[in-house]
């Protein structure tokens, strides 16, 4: 029979005048199943514990201070699983009025624990998970690229899945970055090519994640690689094919403002620098095939499915922007000169459709430009209710770019609250804007009208003065807020992670686990979990990489206790599914299954099962009911 030992700690003899240890020892010795009762001094000292010569098979009840202090001592010294901790210091000695009460309470609590510990089975053989030390980063924007590079630099293989033909994301489309007005692609370009060169990074462009199985340390990810119709192994990016291609298409990279051939490379700094064919426009004339000296083009290319086995996943897919058509009062898409800030970035960029000259659509130079802030953010109904973070700084940057190109230009910014909180935003952006004579008007304009000469008239009420006004300008730039796409929700569903009420990916905990999701081993970085700027996205990319690396550094993962379903008992009624707030229990055919990587171990399922077919550690009725009986049995 397994022995049951009770260890009573006097806490450096300080508890001797609070608890009558002799009485406790006598009472406990009378109990069935108790083989040994020891009163010792200082169980927190490892030498004291070692002297007790406890055996791994023993059931041990430790009556001492809070288990938060002692658990570690016992776990590190002994491989004993059946240890029950009873807090006789904080909960008895220190909380009771007198010695008699404290002793009685000690006896009662211990009687309960004795009853409980004998109901705990033999130590379970804890099978640790082996980790696949390879990571998947979904999304090749700045967050994803930064993350992939950091993981790769630590020596682990990274798969970088990007839905577009090239890495780069939004940052690659920007002209300059705020607040320093550095050239955007000049900063990102080197990072991209470093990523392309890195031996540990496998870039998978034109691809999307379809489904994920498995759990932390061992995910199986199914990726669909869409056809590029050009073999990337053979293509050397010479561009001969594009030269002969007779068809033009709008370039997505240039926000559809500049034409490009149907076989194209999105931009000069693209990584990988390979050509692809847009089948929506290709007429399959075959000219490119003739031109290609390396026979890289295959018009019959089919989508391929790829299964990746990775230990961790970082989601850095970014976010969409608000669709300004939803605000009819601004007439976007109807009035040519109402443009979005992304379109503005391409127009003002030297490599853009106008070669960097700000022109109206009718070709006249734009002399008066207005920015309208918070389009699709900070309002209920359309868009998102929160601040989109980047747009005040972005519009101020863009305003200054206009003045850099044309000192005579007049720029107006319609704002609600100007938020210039980042490093250098106040001095390098806002102050300089004021110095440059950019006009800030506190207003959310009610309408944009068009005059006969094609000029735009902004109708607004200045909320500082209360005066209504109309302002005639050449171009209106709408500063769009973030808006998570439906695609993001689909991806989240495939990954098993949750999205918040705005549609962004939800963190495991907003404060202390900001980059972890509800699925262990899946992390999030960048704008897909809320509005951010480039800096924050890069920070999060690096931070997520650090989490992945620390996961990979460990030998194996100690999973927290999760619920388990006893299949021979389970009837499949599904009450546990109904109860689980984490969505960690699913119906899998006839069976019910716990997704261990999602389970948080709260036990709502355990108590919902009428026949205790769900178990979680030693917290079932089988253990707790005897514990209560023991406590009350006097």
């Amino acid at each position: 029979m397994r022995r049951t030992t009770v260890l009573l700690c006097t806490c450096g003899s300080t508890l001797l005048d609070k608890i009558d240890f002799d009485k406790v020892r006598n009472e406990l010795s009378k109990k069935p199943l108790v083989s040994r009762v020891e009163v010792v001094d200082g169980l927190c000292k490892s030498s004291v514990v070692k002297n007790l010569s406890l055996k791994p098979s023993e059931r041990i009840i430790v009556a001492a201070c809070s288990s938060r202090f002692l658990e570690a001592v016992f776990k590190s010294l002994l491989s004993i699983s059946n240890v029950e901790f009873v807090n006789i210091r904080e909960q008895c000695a220190w909380a009771c009025e007198n010695k008699e009460d404290a002793s009685l309470k000690t006896i009662r609590l211990l009687s309960g624990s004795i009853n409980k510990v004998v109901r705990i089975g033999l130590p379970k053989s804890h099978e640790d998970l082996k980790i696949v030390r390879e990571a998947l980063v979904i999304g090749g924007g700045i967050a994803g690229v930064r993350c992939a590079l950091d993981i790769a630099d630590a020596g682990y293989r990274v798969y970088l899945v990007e839905k577009e033909p090239s890495l780069g994301g939004v940052m690659a489309q920007l002209d300059k970055t705020f607040p320093t007005l550095d050239c955007s692609i000049c900063i990102e370009g080197p990072l991209l090519s470093e990523t392309g060169r890195n031996k540990n990074i496998v870039i998978i462009p034109n691809s999307e994640v379809v489904s994920v199985r498995g759990m932390v340390g061992d995910f199986r990810v199914l990726v669909r690689v869409n056809p590029a119709y050009v073999d990337p192994e053979k293509c050397n990016g010479c561009g001969e094919c594009a030269n002969v291609c007779p068809v033009y298409q709008p370039n997505k990279y240039d926000v559809n403002l500049k034409p490009v051939k149907a076989i194209y490379c999105p931009f000069a700094q693209a990584v990988p620098l390979k050509y692809v064919i847009n089948k929506d426009y290709c007429i399959e004339c075959g000219l490119c095939m003739n031109a290609c000296t390396r026979a890289a083009i295959n018009l019959e290319d089919k989508p391929k499915m790829l299964e990746l086995n990775v230990g961790a996943i970082v989601v850095a897919v970014g976010s969409d922007l608000f669709d300004p058509r939803l605000k009819p009062e601004y007439h976007y898409g109807e009035y040519d000169n109402v443009i979005t800030n992304m379109e503005f970035e391409r127009i003002i960029c030297a490599s853009g459709p106008t070669g960097g000259v700000l022109l109206r659509r009718d070709g006249k130079p734009a002399k008066r430009v207005a920015f309208i802030q918070c389009v699709g953010s900070r309002e209920s109904g359309q868009g998102i209710e929160e601040c989109s973070y980047y747009c005040c700084a972005a519009s101020m940057k863009e305003a200054r770019l206009i003045l850099e190109h044309d000192r005579e230009a007049k720029v107006f910014i319609f704002y609600n609250e100007l938020r210039a909180f980042g490093k250098g935003w106040e001095d390098l952006l806002y102050r300089r804007c004021l110095e440059d004579g950019i006009v800030f008007i506190r207003s959310r304009p009610s309408e944009i009208k068009r005059s006969l000469n094609g000029n735009l008239i902004i109708v607004y009420e200045d909320t500082l003065t209360g005066k209504r006004g109309e302002l005639e300008v050449d171009i209106v730039v709408l500063a769009l807020g973030f808006k998570p796409s439906e695609k993001l929700a689909k991806l989240a569903a495939a990954l098993g992670i949750s999205v918040d009420d705005k549609g962004f990916i939800e963190e495991a905990h907003a404060k202390v686990k900001p980059l972890e999701t509800r699925v262990r081993g899946i992390y999030v970085a960048g704008t897909c979990h809320g509005p951010r700027d480039i800096v924050e996205s890069a920070v999060e990319g690096s931070a997520a990489a650090a989490l992945v690396i620390s996961l990979f550094r460990g030998e194996s993962i100690k999973l927290p206790e999760t619920a388990k379903i006893l299949e021979n008992k389970c009837t499949g009624c599904g009450r546990c599914i109904l109860m689980c707030q984490y969505g960690a229990i699913i119906r899998d055919g006839e069976k019910i299954r716990v997704l261990e990587s999602i389970c948080n171990g709260c036990g709502a399922c355990v108590s919902s099962c009428p026949q205790e077919a769900v178990v979680l550690g030693d917290w079932g009725i089988e253990q707790l009911a005897p514990q209560i009986s023991g406590m009350l049995g006097d």
Binding site: K30, K31, P32, L33, S111, G633, D634
Partner: protein
């Protein structure tokens, strides 16, 4: 044995006297039906009671009783408390006969059941004959009623002129002696009425069910019979038939520990339960419901008779009436008897 009589109005006096000297248990109405319990007020007793819904076996074989305690540092203590003498008044002859079968099974050396004996040895069983048997009753089949059973110390029979009292055992005679002033010898007129009553009631019951008991021994061979399969479909495996039965005596034990001792309890079990014959190895000689149902009838109608020379059924009709699924032992009797 000798026949006595007691006047109707003296019955209450007798009961009051009895309750002063003994623990008097008698049926009285509670929540709409009659149940045995300690009779504190003799006025609660109604001569025209119908038989109790639950059998009186629980006074000798409680549903759960302590067998022993074991203290870690002291050893065993057997829990045989001396019981004060119990008088079970107003038991029906069928239930009294069931007690005699139980005596046969449980008090036969060498397998004497000390716990049963302890409760049974001082008990006095006084029956009151059924003059209006219920529709479920078939005690005539096993000759366990309706007027006289086999386990009583005294048999009271209600006639128009009072009660005819038959002393059946020495214990019974002693009771008559104890309360001599209330009893007198039965006169001829009363005995005539008594004998007529016996005939009438037996005739009435005999017309309901006639069984050739000698053939019942053969049921065992019919175990695979469709009859049991059909009834097994119906059976919901509650243990009501066994719990209500006045002589189902199967028990099980349960050991556990309490505050300062290990304890063993024993209590009623039922062969209808799928766990009854299930062994730790997983082997179960009676896997199907039909097996178990057949076993129940075989045991009562063929095995107990072969071993103890008495039938395991006394025809009280409780299982017939209470079974939620309408399984009826009378069908078995008709089919094989």
């Amino acid at each position: 044995m000798k026949m006595f009589s007691i006047r109707e109005e003296n019955l209450k006096v007798f009961l009051r006297e009895l309750s002063l000297k003994h623990v008097l248990i008698a049926p009285f109405k509670r929540d709409g039906y009659f149940e045995f319990d300690v009779l504190r007020n003799p006025d609660d007793f109604n001569v025209n009671y119908t038989n109790t819904r639950l059998s009186p076996k629980r006074f000798f074989m409680p549903q759960r009783q302590l067998v022993f305690k074991h203290y870690p540092r002291k050893g065993f203590t057997e829990e045989l408390k001396e019981n004060s003498s119990v008088v079970l008044f107003g038991i029906r002859p069928c239930d009294a006969s069931a007690l005699s079968v139980l005596d046969n099974v449980l008090l036969n050396p060498p397998h004497k059941d000390a716990l049963y004996e302890n409760r049974r040895k001082n008990a006095i069983v006084v029956s009151l004959s059924c003059t209006k048997p219920m529709t479920e009753c078939f005690c005539n089949v096993f000759e366990t009623g309706p007027i006289r059973g086999t386990g009583e110390d005294l048999t009271f029979t209600h006639t128009s002129k009072g009660f005819v009292v038959e002393a059946r055992t020495q214990k019974g005679i002693a009771v008559i002696g104890e309360f001599g002033e209330l009893f007198r010898e039965a006169d001829g007129e009363m005995l005539n009425e008594y004998n007529k009553l016996i005939r009438e009631v037996l005739d009435e019951m005999g017309s309901r069910l006639k069984v050739d008991k000698t053939r019942l021994i053969g049921i065992e061979k019919e175990a695979g019979e469709e009859f049991f399969q059909l009834n097994a479909q119906r059976c919901i495996e509650c243990s009501l038939c066994s719990f209500a039965c006045p002589l189902c005596y199967c028990f099980e034990t349960e050991d556990y520990w309490e505050k300062d001792s290990y304890v063993r309890f024993r209590g009623w079990d039922t062969c209808i339960s799928p766990l009854f014959t299930k062994m730790a190895s997983g082997l179960d000689p009676r896997v199907t419901k039909a097996d178990r149902l057949c076993h129940r009838f075989c045991h009562k109608l063929s095995r107990i008779p072969l071993t103890f020379n008495a039938y395991g059924c006394v025809g009280c009709g409780r299982c017939v009436s209470l079974c939620p699924a309408g399984i009826d032992i009378r069908e078995v009797l008709r089919k094989w008897g």
